[in-house]
Symmetry: C2
Subunit: 284 residues, 2 copies
Protein backbone atom coordinates (compact mmCIF):
# COMPACT_ATOMS: atom_id res chain seq x y z
CA UNK A 1 0.00 0.00 0.00
CA UNK A 2 1.30 3.41 -0.99
CA UNK A 3 1.63 5.79 1.95
CA UNK A 4 1.01 2.99 4.46
CA UNK A 5 2.45 4.93 7.39
CA UNK A 6 0.31 7.97 6.57
CA UNK A 7 -2.73 5.70 6.31
CA UNK A 8 -1.93 4.19 9.71
CA UNK A 9 -1.58 7.67 11.19
CA UNK A 10 -4.99 8.70 9.86
CA UNK A 11 -6.56 5.40 10.91
CA UNK A 12 -5.19 5.48 14.45
CA UNK A 13 -6.08 9.16 14.87
CA UNK A 14 -9.62 8.67 13.61
CA UNK A 15 -10.17 5.55 15.76
CA UNK A 16 -8.81 7.41 18.76
CA UNK A 17 -11.15 10.35 18.13
CA UNK A 18 -14.10 8.01 17.57
CA UNK A 19 -13.32 6.11 20.76
CA UNK A 20 -12.85 9.38 22.70
CA UNK A 21 -16.20 10.62 21.35
CA UNK A 22 -17.99 7.55 22.70
CA UNK A 23 -16.13 7.90 26.01
CA UNK A 24 -16.96 11.62 26.23
CA UNK A 25 -20.65 10.91 25.59
CA UNK A 26 -20.64 8.45 28.50
CA UNK A 27 -18.76 10.83 30.81
CA UNK A 28 -21.22 13.56 29.83
CA UNK A 29 -24.34 11.60 30.73
CA UNK A 30 -22.90 9.92 33.85
CA UNK A 31 -20.87 12.80 35.31
CA UNK A 32 -23.03 15.83 34.40
CA UNK A 33 -26.42 14.37 33.53
CA UNK A 34 -28.74 11.69 34.91
CA UNK A 35 -26.91 8.57 33.65
CA UNK A 36 -28.73 5.90 31.66
CA UNK A 37 -32.00 4.11 32.34
CA UNK A 38 -35.31 3.36 30.55
CA UNK A 39 -37.90 5.11 32.70
CA UNK A 40 -39.31 7.90 30.49
CA UNK A 41 -37.10 10.43 32.28
CA UNK A 42 -33.96 12.36 31.37
CA UNK A 43 -31.85 9.22 31.86
CA UNK A 44 -33.83 7.58 29.05
CA UNK A 45 -33.22 10.58 26.81
CA UNK A 46 -29.50 10.17 27.47
CA UNK A 47 -29.48 6.95 25.45
CA UNK A 48 -30.04 9.22 22.43
CA UNK A 49 -26.62 10.94 22.31
CA UNK A 50 -24.76 7.84 23.53
CA UNK A 51 -26.29 5.50 20.92
CA UNK A 52 -26.07 8.04 18.08
CA UNK A 53 -22.39 8.71 18.75
CA UNK A 54 -21.59 5.02 19.29
CA UNK A 55 -23.65 3.57 16.47
CA UNK A 56 -24.55 6.21 13.93
CA UNK A 57 -21.16 7.93 14.01
CA UNK A 58 -18.38 5.64 15.29
CA UNK A 59 -19.65 2.31 13.95
CA UNK A 60 -20.87 3.88 10.68
CA UNK A 61 -17.43 5.47 10.26
CA UNK A 62 -15.73 2.09 10.71
CA UNK A 63 -18.23 0.50 8.29
CA UNK A 64 -17.28 3.10 5.67
CA UNK A 65 -13.50 2.58 5.90
CA UNK A 66 -13.55 -1.18 6.39
CA UNK A 67 -12.65 -1.87 2.73
CA UNK A 68 -9.58 0.35 3.12
CA UNK A 69 -7.89 -1.71 5.84
CA UNK A 70 -4.98 -3.37 4.00
CA UNK A 71 -4.96 -6.44 6.24
CA UNK A 72 -8.49 -7.28 4.99
CA UNK A 73 -7.47 -7.29 1.34
CA UNK A 74 -6.75 -11.01 1.44
CA UNK A 75 -10.33 -11.64 2.60
CA UNK A 76 -12.99 -12.30 -0.01
CA UNK A 77 -15.02 -9.37 -1.28
CA UNK A 78 -18.20 -11.16 -0.14
CA UNK A 79 -16.93 -11.39 3.43
CA UNK A 80 -16.01 -7.70 3.38
CA UNK A 81 -19.42 -6.80 1.96
CA UNK A 82 -21.07 -8.75 4.80
CA UNK A 83 -18.95 -6.90 7.38
CA UNK A 84 -19.71 -3.55 5.67
CA UNK A 85 -23.45 -4.30 5.64
CA UNK A 86 -23.44 -5.82 9.14
CA UNK A 87 -21.76 -2.78 10.70
CA UNK A 88 -24.22 -0.48 8.91
CA UNK A 89 -27.13 -2.61 10.12
CA UNK A 90 -25.77 -2.38 13.68
CA UNK A 91 -25.54 1.40 13.28
CA UNK A 92 -29.15 1.54 12.07
CA UNK A 93 -30.46 -0.57 14.95
CA UNK A 94 -28.69 1.64 17.51
CA UNK A 95 -29.98 4.78 15.77
CA UNK A 96 -33.56 3.48 15.83
CA UNK A 97 -33.32 2.55 19.53
CA UNK A 98 -31.94 6.04 20.20
CA UNK A 99 -34.94 7.54 18.38
CA UNK A 100 -37.34 5.43 20.43
CA UNK A 101 -35.63 6.72 23.59
CA UNK A 102 -36.08 10.35 22.63
CA UNK A 103 -39.70 9.99 21.43
CA UNK A 104 -40.51 8.05 24.60
CA UNK A 105 -38.94 10.78 26.74
CA UNK A 106 -40.76 13.56 24.85
CA UNK A 107 -44.09 11.79 25.13
CA UNK A 108 -43.64 11.11 28.86
CA UNK A 109 -42.81 14.79 29.46
CA UNK A 110 -45.36 16.21 26.99
CA UNK A 111 -42.61 17.80 24.92
CA UNK A 112 -43.58 18.14 21.24
CA UNK A 113 -41.78 15.92 18.75
CA UNK A 114 -40.35 16.91 15.38
CA UNK A 115 -40.36 20.69 15.72
CA UNK A 116 -36.63 21.42 15.46
CA UNK A 117 -34.31 21.52 12.47
CA UNK A 118 -32.33 18.78 14.28
CA UNK A 119 -35.38 16.51 14.31
CA UNK A 120 -36.33 17.27 10.69
CA UNK A 121 -32.88 16.50 9.32
CA UNK A 122 -32.26 13.69 11.82
CA UNK A 123 -35.38 11.67 11.02
CA UNK A 124 -34.88 12.21 7.29
CA UNK A 125 -31.30 10.97 7.46
CA UNK A 126 -32.28 7.85 9.44
CA UNK A 127 -34.90 7.03 6.77
CA UNK A 128 -32.39 7.68 3.95
CA UNK A 129 -29.83 5.52 5.77
CA UNK A 130 -32.34 2.66 5.99
CA UNK A 131 -33.18 3.03 2.28
CA UNK A 132 -29.48 3.08 1.42
CA UNK A 133 -29.00 -0.14 3.43
CA UNK A 134 -31.94 -1.90 1.76
CA UNK A 135 -30.84 -0.76 -1.69
CA UNK A 136 -27.21 -1.72 -1.02
CA UNK A 137 -28.24 -5.16 0.27
CA UNK A 138 -30.56 -5.77 -2.69
CA UNK A 139 -28.10 -4.69 -5.34
CA UNK A 140 -24.71 -5.76 -3.96
CA UNK A 141 -25.38 -8.72 -1.66
CA UNK A 142 -28.37 -10.47 -3.23
CA UNK A 143 -27.39 -12.32 -6.40
CA UNK A 144 -30.10 -10.90 -8.67
CA UNK A 145 -28.85 -7.49 -9.82
CA UNK A 146 -27.02 -7.50 -13.16
CA UNK A 147 -23.46 -6.23 -13.18
CA UNK A 148 -24.48 -3.24 -15.28
CA UNK A 149 -26.88 -2.09 -12.56
CA UNK A 150 -24.28 -2.66 -9.84
CA UNK A 151 -21.74 -0.57 -11.71
CA UNK A 152 -24.21 2.18 -12.60
CA UNK A 153 -25.38 2.57 -9.01
CA UNK A 154 -21.95 2.42 -7.34
CA UNK A 155 -21.04 6.13 -7.65
CA UNK A 156 -24.46 7.03 -6.25
CA UNK A 157 -24.09 4.41 -3.47
CA UNK A 158 -20.71 5.87 -2.46
CA UNK A 159 -21.76 9.52 -2.72
CA UNK A 160 -25.03 9.07 -0.85
CA UNK A 161 -23.26 7.02 1.82
CA UNK A 162 -20.76 9.80 2.47
CA UNK A 163 -23.47 12.48 2.26
CA UNK A 164 -25.55 10.60 4.84
CA UNK A 165 -22.50 10.18 7.07
CA UNK A 166 -21.66 13.91 6.84
CA UNK A 167 -25.27 14.86 7.49
CA UNK A 168 -25.41 12.56 10.53
CA UNK A 169 -22.40 14.41 11.96
CA UNK A 170 -23.97 17.82 11.27
CA UNK A 171 -27.19 16.60 12.91
CA UNK A 172 -25.29 15.39 15.96
CA UNK A 173 -23.72 18.85 16.34
CA UNK A 174 -27.23 20.35 16.16
CA UNK A 175 -28.37 17.95 18.87
CA UNK A 176 -25.42 18.82 21.11
CA UNK A 177 -26.18 22.54 20.70
CA UNK A 178 -29.88 22.06 21.51
CA UNK A 179 -29.16 19.92 24.56
CA UNK A 180 -26.57 22.34 25.99
CA UNK A 181 -28.89 25.34 25.55
CA UNK A 182 -31.86 23.52 27.12
CA UNK A 183 -29.98 21.72 29.91
CA UNK A 184 -27.55 24.40 31.07
CA UNK A 185 -29.52 27.01 32.98
CA UNK A 186 -27.61 27.78 36.19
CA UNK A 187 -24.90 28.31 35.16
CA UNK A 188 -26.04 28.95 31.61
CA UNK A 189 -24.33 27.75 28.43
CA UNK A 190 -23.15 31.33 27.72
CA UNK A 191 -21.03 31.37 30.89
CA UNK A 192 -19.00 28.41 29.58
CA UNK A 193 -19.23 26.04 32.57
CA UNK A 194 -16.99 22.93 32.44
CA UNK A 195 -19.82 20.82 30.96
CA UNK A 196 -20.15 23.28 28.05
CA UNK A 197 -16.42 23.20 27.31
CA UNK A 198 -16.37 19.41 27.62
CA UNK A 199 -19.33 18.82 25.29
CA UNK A 200 -18.20 21.46 22.76
CA UNK A 201 -14.93 19.52 22.66
CA UNK A 202 -16.92 16.33 22.03
CA UNK A 203 -18.54 18.13 19.07
CA UNK A 204 -15.14 19.06 17.66
CA UNK A 205 -13.93 15.44 18.07
CA UNK A 206 -16.95 14.19 16.13
CA UNK A 207 -16.38 16.70 13.33
CA UNK A 208 -12.69 15.85 12.97
CA UNK A 209 -13.48 12.11 13.11
CA UNK A 210 -15.86 12.59 10.18
CA UNK A 211 -13.33 14.65 8.22
CA UNK A 212 -10.65 11.95 8.68
CA UNK A 213 -12.98 9.11 7.65
CA UNK A 214 -14.02 10.95 4.49
CA UNK A 215 -10.37 11.79 3.71
CA UNK A 216 -9.37 8.11 4.03
CA UNK A 217 -12.32 7.02 1.92
CA UNK A 218 -11.57 9.42 -0.94
CA UNK A 219 -7.83 8.73 -1.18
CA UNK A 220 -7.38 6.72 -4.37
CA UNK A 221 -4.06 5.23 -3.22
CA UNK A 222 -5.72 3.58 -0.22
CA UNK A 223 -8.45 1.74 -2.10
CA UNK A 224 -8.74 -2.05 -1.85
CA UNK A 225 -6.93 -3.27 -4.95
CA UNK A 226 -8.73 -5.27 -7.61
CA UNK A 227 -8.26 -8.98 -7.02
CA UNK A 228 -6.13 -10.51 -9.76
CA UNK A 229 -5.83 -14.05 -8.48
CA UNK A 230 -8.46 -14.38 -5.82
CA UNK A 231 -11.84 -15.16 -7.32
CA UNK A 232 -14.42 -13.19 -5.42
CA UNK A 233 -17.00 -15.40 -3.79
CA UNK A 234 -19.84 -13.86 -5.68
CA UNK A 235 -23.24 -15.03 -4.37
CA UNK A 236 -24.32 -16.15 -7.82
CA UNK A 237 -21.14 -18.18 -8.09
CA UNK A 238 -20.21 -16.36 -11.23
CA UNK A 239 -17.34 -14.24 -12.38
CA UNK A 240 -15.08 -12.20 -10.16
CA UNK A 241 -16.90 -9.09 -9.12
CA UNK A 242 -14.36 -6.72 -10.51
CA UNK A 243 -17.17 -4.61 -11.82
CA UNK A 244 -18.12 -3.20 -8.47
CA UNK A 245 -14.50 -2.78 -7.49
CA UNK A 246 -13.62 -0.90 -10.62
CA UNK A 247 -16.69 1.26 -10.44
CA UNK A 248 -16.03 2.09 -6.83
CA UNK A 249 -12.48 2.67 -7.75
CA UNK A 250 -12.86 5.05 -10.60
CA UNK A 251 -16.21 6.69 -10.20
CA UNK A 252 -16.13 6.97 -13.98
CA UNK A 253 -19.52 6.16 -15.36
CA UNK A 254 -18.16 5.76 -18.86
CA UNK A 255 -15.65 3.21 -17.74
CA UNK A 256 -18.13 1.50 -15.51
CA UNK A 257 -20.62 0.97 -18.27
CA UNK A 258 -18.08 -0.50 -20.63
CA UNK A 259 -16.41 -2.55 -17.91
CA UNK A 260 -19.54 -4.46 -17.09
CA UNK A 261 -19.47 -6.00 -20.51
CA UNK A 262 -15.92 -7.22 -20.13
CA UNK A 263 -15.58 -10.53 -18.40
CA UNK A 264 -13.23 -12.29 -20.78
CA UNK A 265 -9.54 -12.84 -20.26
CA UNK A 266 -8.87 -10.21 -22.91
CA UNK A 267 -10.91 -7.76 -20.91
CA UNK A 268 -8.90 -8.59 -17.81
CA UNK A 269 -5.69 -7.94 -19.73
CA UNK A 270 -7.11 -4.66 -20.99
CA UNK A 271 -8.01 -3.70 -17.45
CA UNK A 272 -4.50 -4.49 -16.21
CA UNK A 273 -3.08 -2.39 -19.03
CA UNK A 274 -5.32 0.47 -18.04
CA UNK A 275 -4.21 0.23 -14.45
CA UNK A 276 -0.58 0.12 -15.42
CA UNK A 277 -0.91 2.96 -17.90
CA UNK A 278 -2.78 5.36 -15.76
CA UNK A 279 -1.34 4.33 -12.42
CA UNK A 280 -4.99 4.07 -11.69
CA UNK A 281 -6.15 2.98 -8.32
CA UNK A 282 -9.42 3.98 -6.93
CA UNK A 283 -11.28 6.98 -5.71
CA UNK A 284 -14.59 7.42 -3.97
CA UNK B 1 -20.32 17.37 -22.15
CA UNK B 2 -21.66 13.99 -21.14
CA UNK B 3 -24.99 14.21 -19.32
CA UNK B 4 -25.39 17.90 -20.17
CA UNK B 5 -29.13 17.93 -19.44
CA UNK B 6 -28.60 16.25 -16.08
CA UNK B 7 -25.88 18.80 -15.28
CA UNK B 8 -28.23 21.64 -16.22
CA UNK B 9 -30.93 20.16 -13.99
CA UNK B 10 -28.54 20.01 -11.02
CA UNK B 11 -27.16 23.47 -11.76
CA UNK B 12 -30.57 25.13 -12.08
CA UNK B 13 -31.89 23.34 -8.99
CA UNK B 14 -28.87 24.29 -6.90
CA UNK B 15 -28.92 27.93 -8.06
CA UNK B 16 -32.64 28.08 -7.33
CA UNK B 17 -32.10 26.68 -3.84
CA UNK B 18 -29.18 29.04 -3.23
CA UNK B 19 -31.22 32.02 -4.42
CA UNK B 20 -34.21 30.92 -2.32
CA UNK B 21 -31.94 30.58 0.71
CA UNK B 22 -30.76 34.20 0.35
CA UNK B 23 -34.35 35.33 -0.21
CA UNK B 24 -35.57 33.35 2.83
CA UNK B 25 -32.85 34.90 5.02
CA UNK B 26 -34.04 38.38 3.98
CA UNK B 27 -37.72 37.54 4.52
CA UNK B 28 -36.78 36.09 7.92
CA UNK B 29 -35.00 39.21 9.18
CA UNK B 30 -37.43 41.73 7.62
CA UNK B 31 -40.74 39.96 8.21
CA UNK B 32 -40.14 38.26 11.57
CA UNK B 33 -37.10 40.01 13.01
CA UNK B 34 -35.82 43.57 13.28
CA UNK B 35 -34.62 44.08 9.71
CA UNK B 36 -31.08 45.30 8.99
CA UNK B 37 -29.13 48.22 10.40
CA UNK B 38 -25.76 48.89 12.09
CA UNK B 39 -26.67 50.15 15.54
CA UNK B 40 -25.40 47.48 17.93
CA UNK B 41 -28.92 46.08 18.26
CA UNK B 42 -30.69 42.98 16.96
CA UNK B 43 -30.89 44.51 13.48
CA UNK B 44 -27.09 44.56 13.38
CA UNK B 45 -26.95 40.92 14.44
CA UNK B 46 -29.25 40.14 11.51
CA UNK B 47 -26.46 40.95 9.05
CA UNK B 48 -24.83 37.75 10.36
CA UNK B 49 -27.26 35.17 8.89
CA UNK B 50 -27.90 37.25 5.75
CA UNK B 51 -24.21 37.73 4.89
CA UNK B 52 -23.21 34.17 5.82
CA UNK B 53 -25.94 32.67 3.64
CA UNK B 54 -25.29 35.11 0.76
CA UNK B 55 -21.51 35.10 0.86
CA UNK B 56 -20.20 32.10 2.73
CA UNK B 57 -22.75 29.65 1.32
CA UNK B 58 -24.27 30.87 -1.97
CA UNK B 59 -21.24 32.70 -3.41
CA UNK B 60 -18.80 30.07 -2.10
CA UNK B 61 -20.96 27.37 -3.73
CA UNK B 62 -20.82 29.19 -7.08
CA UNK B 63 -17.06 29.70 -6.68
CA UNK B 64 -16.66 25.93 -6.21
CA UNK B 65 -18.62 24.90 -9.33
CA UNK B 66 -17.45 27.71 -11.60
CA UNK B 67 -14.92 25.45 -13.38
CA UNK B 68 -17.72 23.02 -14.21
CA UNK B 69 -19.82 25.42 -16.27
CA UNK B 70 -19.32 24.15 -19.84
CA UNK B 71 -19.76 27.61 -21.40
CA UNK B 72 -16.63 28.77 -19.53
CA UNK B 73 -14.45 26.02 -20.99
CA UNK B 74 -13.42 28.24 -23.89
CA UNK B 75 -12.14 30.84 -21.39
CA UNK B 76 -8.50 30.68 -20.31
CA UNK B 77 -7.64 28.77 -17.16
CA UNK B 78 -6.10 31.93 -15.72
CA UNK B 79 -9.35 33.86 -16.15
CA UNK B 80 -11.29 31.05 -14.48
CA UNK B 81 -8.78 30.93 -11.63
CA UNK B 82 -9.23 34.67 -11.11
CA UNK B 83 -13.03 34.25 -11.04
CA UNK B 84 -12.69 31.26 -8.65
CA UNK B 85 -10.38 33.25 -6.34
CA UNK B 86 -12.40 36.48 -6.67
CA UNK B 87 -15.65 34.81 -5.68
CA UNK B 88 -13.94 33.14 -2.72
CA UNK B 89 -12.46 36.49 -1.68
CA UNK B 90 -15.93 38.06 -1.88
CA UNK B 91 -17.26 35.23 0.29
CA UNK B 92 -14.50 35.82 2.84
CA UNK B 93 -15.11 39.58 3.01
CA UNK B 94 -18.83 39.05 3.58
CA UNK B 95 -18.11 36.40 6.23
CA UNK B 96 -15.73 38.72 8.08
CA UNK B 97 -18.26 41.60 8.00
CA UNK B 98 -20.89 39.19 9.32
CA UNK B 99 -18.54 38.24 12.18
CA UNK B 100 -17.95 41.91 13.02
CA UNK B 101 -21.72 42.38 13.16
CA UNK B 102 -22.22 39.56 15.63
CA UNK B 103 -19.27 40.48 17.87
CA UNK B 104 -20.43 44.12 17.84
CA UNK B 105 -23.95 43.06 18.81
CA UNK B 106 -22.69 40.76 21.59
CA UNK B 107 -20.41 43.46 23.00
CA UNK B 108 -23.17 46.09 22.92
CA UNK B 109 -25.54 43.73 24.76
CA UNK B 110 -22.91 42.25 27.12
CA UNK B 111 -23.46 38.79 25.69
CA UNK B 112 -20.34 36.59 25.95
CA UNK B 113 -18.53 35.73 22.72
CA UNK B 114 -17.17 32.35 21.66
CA UNK B 115 -18.95 30.10 24.14
CA UNK B 116 -21.03 27.95 21.77
CA UNK B 117 -20.07 25.04 19.54
CA UNK B 118 -21.37 27.19 16.66
CA UNK B 119 -18.86 29.93 17.47
CA UNK B 120 -15.96 27.51 17.99
CA UNK B 121 -16.47 25.75 14.67
CA UNK B 122 -17.54 28.93 12.87
CA UNK B 123 -14.48 31.00 13.77
CA UNK B 124 -12.18 28.05 13.04
CA UNK B 125 -13.70 27.54 9.61
CA UNK B 126 -13.40 31.25 8.72
CA UNK B 127 -9.69 31.12 9.65
CA UNK B 128 -9.20 27.90 7.67
CA UNK B 129 -11.04 29.46 4.72
CA UNK B 130 -8.72 32.47 4.80
CA UNK B 131 -5.66 30.20 4.98
CA UNK B 132 -7.01 28.13 2.08
CA UNK B 133 -7.46 31.33 0.05
CA UNK B 134 -3.94 32.60 0.80
CA UNK B 135 -2.42 29.20 0.07
CA UNK B 136 -4.46 28.79 -3.13
CA UNK B 137 -3.49 32.28 -4.31
CA UNK B 138 0.20 31.73 -3.52
CA UNK B 139 0.44 28.34 -5.16
CA UNK B 140 -1.96 28.56 -8.12
CA UNK B 141 -2.13 32.25 -9.08
CA UNK B 142 1.32 33.60 -8.26
CA UNK B 143 3.92 32.37 -10.76
CA UNK B 144 6.47 31.08 -8.25
CA UNK B 145 5.30 27.61 -7.22
CA UNK B 146 6.83 24.74 -9.19
CA UNK B 147 4.44 22.46 -11.05
CA UNK B 148 5.34 19.57 -8.77
CA UNK B 149 4.11 21.53 -5.73
CA UNK B 150 0.94 22.60 -7.54
CA UNK B 151 0.15 19.01 -8.45
CA UNK B 152 1.02 17.63 -5.02
CA UNK B 153 -1.19 20.14 -3.24
CA UNK B 154 -4.20 19.94 -5.60
CA UNK B 155 -5.94 16.93 -3.96
CA UNK B 156 -5.54 18.61 -0.57
CA UNK B 157 -6.76 21.96 -2.00
CA UNK B 158 -9.89 20.29 -3.41
CA UNK B 159 -10.60 18.15 -0.34
CA UNK B 160 -10.07 20.96 2.16
CA UNK B 161 -12.18 23.31 0.02
CA UNK B 162 -15.10 20.88 0.06
CA UNK B 163 -14.58 20.09 3.75
CA UNK B 164 -14.65 23.80 4.60
CA UNK B 165 -17.77 24.28 2.46
CA UNK B 166 -19.54 21.36 4.17
CA UNK B 167 -18.48 22.59 7.60
CA UNK B 168 -19.76 26.11 6.81
CA UNK B 169 -23.15 24.60 6.00
CA UNK B 170 -23.17 22.54 9.22
CA UNK B 171 -22.20 25.69 11.16
CA UNK B 172 -25.01 27.67 9.53
CA UNK B 173 -27.50 25.01 10.64
CA UNK B 174 -26.11 25.31 14.19
CA UNK B 175 -26.57 29.08 14.03
CA UNK B 176 -30.16 28.76 12.80
CA UNK B 177 -30.93 26.36 15.65
CA UNK B 178 -29.37 28.68 18.25
CA UNK B 179 -31.19 31.75 16.94
CA UNK B 180 -34.60 30.02 16.81
CA UNK B 181 -34.24 28.71 20.37
CA UNK B 182 -33.10 32.10 21.71
CA UNK B 183 -35.47 34.32 19.70
CA UNK B 184 -38.70 32.31 19.81
CA UNK B 185 -40.11 32.62 23.32
CA UNK B 186 -43.84 33.37 22.98
CA UNK B 187 -44.72 31.29 21.09
CA UNK B 188 -41.72 29.05 21.69
CA UNK B 189 -39.77 27.11 19.04
CA UNK B 190 -41.29 23.87 20.32
CA UNK B 191 -44.83 25.00 19.36
CA UNK B 192 -43.73 25.28 15.70
CA UNK B 193 -44.88 28.83 14.93
CA UNK B 194 -44.73 29.92 11.24
CA UNK B 195 -41.27 31.49 11.72
CA UNK B 196 -39.91 28.15 13.01
CA UNK B 197 -41.31 26.22 10.03
CA UNK B 198 -40.04 28.90 7.63
CA UNK B 199 -36.50 28.97 9.03
CA UNK B 200 -36.28 25.17 9.40
CA UNK B 201 -37.16 25.08 5.69
CA UNK B 202 -34.36 27.56 5.02
CA UNK B 203 -32.00 25.15 6.82
CA UNK B 204 -33.13 22.27 4.62
CA UNK B 205 -32.63 24.41 1.49
CA UNK B 206 -29.07 25.22 2.57
CA UNK B 207 -28.30 21.55 3.22
CA UNK B 208 -29.66 20.39 -0.15
CA UNK B 209 -27.84 23.25 -1.91
CA UNK B 210 -24.57 22.03 -0.38
CA UNK B 211 -25.29 18.40 -1.32
CA UNK B 212 -25.96 19.38 -4.95
CA UNK B 213 -22.82 21.53 -5.21
CA UNK B 214 -20.66 18.71 -3.85
CA UNK B 215 -22.34 16.20 -6.20
CA UNK B 216 -21.64 18.42 -9.22
CA UNK B 217 -18.05 18.96 -8.11
CA UNK B 218 -17.29 15.27 -7.67
CA UNK B 219 -18.82 14.07 -10.95
CA UNK B 220 -15.88 13.16 -13.18
CA UNK B 221 -17.89 13.54 -16.39
CA UNK B 222 -18.58 17.19 -15.63
CA UNK B 223 -15.00 18.30 -15.12
CA UNK B 224 -13.49 21.05 -17.27
CA UNK B 225 -11.65 19.14 -19.99
CA UNK B 226 -7.89 19.42 -20.38
CA UNK B 227 -7.04 22.03 -22.98
CA UNK B 228 -5.43 20.40 -26.02
CA UNK B 229 -5.19 23.38 -28.34
CA UNK B 230 -5.71 26.41 -26.14
CA UNK B 231 -2.52 27.45 -24.39
CA UNK B 232 -3.35 28.41 -20.87
CA UNK B 233 -2.37 31.97 -20.05
CA UNK B 234 -0.07 30.95 -17.26
CA UNK B 235 1.17 33.94 -15.25
CA UNK B 236 4.78 32.91 -15.81
CA UNK B 237 4.10 32.79 -19.53
CA UNK B 238 5.27 29.22 -19.64
CA UNK B 239 3.84 25.91 -20.56
CA UNK B 240 0.14 25.03 -20.59
CA UNK B 241 -0.95 24.39 -17.04
CA UNK B 242 -2.20 20.91 -17.70
CA UNK B 243 -0.56 19.83 -14.48
CA UNK B 244 -3.14 21.35 -12.22
CA UNK B 245 -5.97 20.27 -14.46
CA UNK B 246 -4.83 16.69 -14.56
CA UNK B 247 -4.20 16.58 -10.86
CA UNK B 248 -7.60 18.03 -10.11
CA UNK B 249 -9.02 15.71 -12.65
CA UNK B 250 -7.66 12.45 -11.46
CA UNK B 251 -6.98 12.83 -7.79
CA UNK B 252 -4.32 10.20 -8.35
CA UNK B 253 -1.20 11.24 -6.56
CA UNK B 254 0.91 8.74 -8.46
CA UNK B 255 -0.21 10.11 -11.74
CA UNK B 256 0.09 13.68 -10.53
CA UNK B 257 3.67 13.30 -9.51
CA UNK B 258 4.74 11.77 -12.76
CA UNK B 259 2.65 14.16 -14.82
CA UNK B 260 4.46 17.21 -13.57
CA UNK B 261 7.62 16.02 -15.23
CA UNK B 262 5.97 15.62 -18.60
CA UNK B 263 5.84 18.76 -20.67
CA UNK B 264 7.10 17.45 -23.96
CA UNK B 265 5.01 16.57 -26.96
CA UNK B 266 5.63 12.90 -26.26
CA UNK B 267 4.26 13.42 -22.80
CA UNK B 268 1.17 15.04 -24.26
CA UNK B 269 0.69 12.04 -26.55
CA UNK B 270 1.14 9.72 -23.59
CA UNK B 271 -1.43 11.72 -21.65
CA UNK B 272 -3.92 11.51 -24.51
CA UNK B 273 -3.34 7.77 -24.72
CA UNK B 274 -4.00 7.45 -21.04
CA UNK B 275 -7.21 9.41 -21.33
CA UNK B 276 -8.35 7.37 -24.29
CA UNK B 277 -7.39 4.09 -22.67
CA UNK B 278 -9.00 4.64 -19.37
CA UNK B 279 -11.90 6.79 -20.54
CA UNK B 280 -10.50 8.96 -17.83
CA UNK B 281 -12.02 12.33 -17.10
CA UNK B 282 -11.78 13.86 -13.75
CA UNK B 283 -12.84 13.39 -10.21
CA UNK B 284 -12.33 15.43 -7.08
Amino acid sequence: MEGYKRFLFFLVTSLLLGFLSVLFSLVWVFHWREGLSWDGGAAEFNWHPVLIITGFIFIQGIAIIVYRLPWTWKCSKLLMKCIHAGLHLTALVLAVVSLVAVFDFHNAKNIPNMYSLHSWIGLTVVILFALQLVLGFSVYLLPFAPDSLRAALMPIHVYSGLLIFGTVIATALLGITEKLIFALKTPSYSTSPPEAIFVNTLGVFILVFGALVIWMTTQPAWKRPQSQSVKALHPNGGSPDVTEESSTATGYSNTDKSDVEMNSEAAARKRNLKLDEAGQRSTM
